[in-house]
Symmetry: C2
């Protein structure tokens, strides 16, 4: 049974998250329906990141096993033809060996959190950014973010419903940059806890607004207490931008 | 009667163009409805660029005369409150003198044309970019664009319904750059003919695909013949990004 790796982009807005749920529009459901439409197969795909409702992806990775040995380009084109009314697109498709698993082979995930930092509300990027009206201090945000980098117990930044066995993760990258009218937060780790990126983003915005100091971020981390976290940032600004595999 | 300058962003997708038309959703209609909602006044605004159906703006400029001397911030906030269900936002509002006219005082207009240049169709930027699957040669496009810069008779690049008295315009900037997966065309001029930017963009894409040479662009310009123009680029990728005024 040939296995295909799918690189996927989607607008999370119209979907109840990535993961398939009976009777709900989901990204996984849209993809599996498209696969069924061209192959006749009822499949279950596996993906690197099970993004929440409203969270976007420019670099989600999934894999699927098909009965027939289709050329990869045919799989991609056929899926895109059936996804044309969905906010989901297959950007790349390659045949992979059976030891590739989109979720379990992943050794890194990259997320981007986009903040539109201007007084005027977004007309073009409504649902695609978090709108923060007051000016953010990017240097203070980076100083706060630096406290999060490394091997830490992220209990404070983890949703109460998080299923992960351990709250201890290594955050490799937490980079804050101003890009025109936006502030971008880039995060990279082997894996993240549930709502970890949005929890960190919310806390860093408090820091950028001057309501928290960078040291308050450190204190919140050290507290290992969910109630020490600032308001969780909305899903609108979050993008899964890439997944890293060992070649 | 105090006059206010409004800097406006909009998604052109849901609107039948900028200009008000009875019974049609238009950007101008949405703005005038919002002004009426907070001021009670039935007004007619003037804008620097009357963008076509589906064309976006990040830097449209309009002006409006109000009966009452409202603080500019109040005008902006009240308008945005009433525009919250529209894809239109007021980014800035300042009180100006009566000799400021959004359209007639403008001495420059800036447009951006965004091309998504990758095999996979856009999921996030559907309606916001022109999707060109095959790789574009940016150097060839720039060489073609260079022929358009300067004082020229743009009859070839003008819609047959263009109302402008003369087809002779000075194109100050025509810059082609690759930005990640996108190719951006930036154009600046005192003013443009109807569909001029989309006509030039369509022609430059032919050049980027190798179907036209840069010299073919020159020949098309010299022909002063609308039928010498390539396919007009779709409205999706076009943005009015700024208007220049003498201070």
């Amino acid at each position: 049974m040939p296995r295909y790796r799918l690189d996927i982009e989607y607008d999370g807005g119209p979907y109840n998250g990535f993961q398939a749920q009976e009777g709900q529009p989901t990204v996984q459901g849209a993809i599996e329906t498209a696969i069924h439409a061209f192959s006749g197969q009822t499949v279950r795909i596996a993906a690197a990141g099970r993004t929440d409702t409203g969270v976007h992806a420019t670099g989600q990775v999934a894999h699927v096993d098909l009965d027939k040995d289709w050329p990869a380009a045919t799989v991609m084109n056929a899926m895109n033809a059936h996804l044309v009314r969905e906010a989901v697109a297959v950007l790349d498709c390659v045949q992979v060996t059976d030891d590739f698993h989109a979720r379990f082979s992943a050794v890194g995930r990259k997320y981007l959190y986009r903040i539109l930092n201007r007084p005027g509300r977004p007309a073009l990027d409504q649902g695609r950014v978090w709108h923060v009206k007051r000016p953010l201090n990017v240097e203070a945000m980076q100083a706060g973010a630096n406290h999060l980098i490394g091997l830490n117990d992220f209990t404070t930044f983890r949703d109460v419903n998080c299923q992960s066995k351990s709250p201890v993760k290594t955050l490799d990258v937490a980079r804050v940059t101003r890009v025109g009218e936006e502030v971008h937060l880039a995060f990279e780790a082997r894996s993240f806890l549930h709502r970890q990126v949005r929890s960190m983003a919310g806390t860093l915005v408090e820091t950028g607004l001057g309501r928290w100091t960078p040291d308050d971020v450190k204190a919140a981390l050290d507290a290992r207490d969910r109630t020490a976290c600032a308001q969780v940032a909305p899903s609108d600004g979050l993008y899964l931008t890439g997944v890293v595999y060992e070649d």
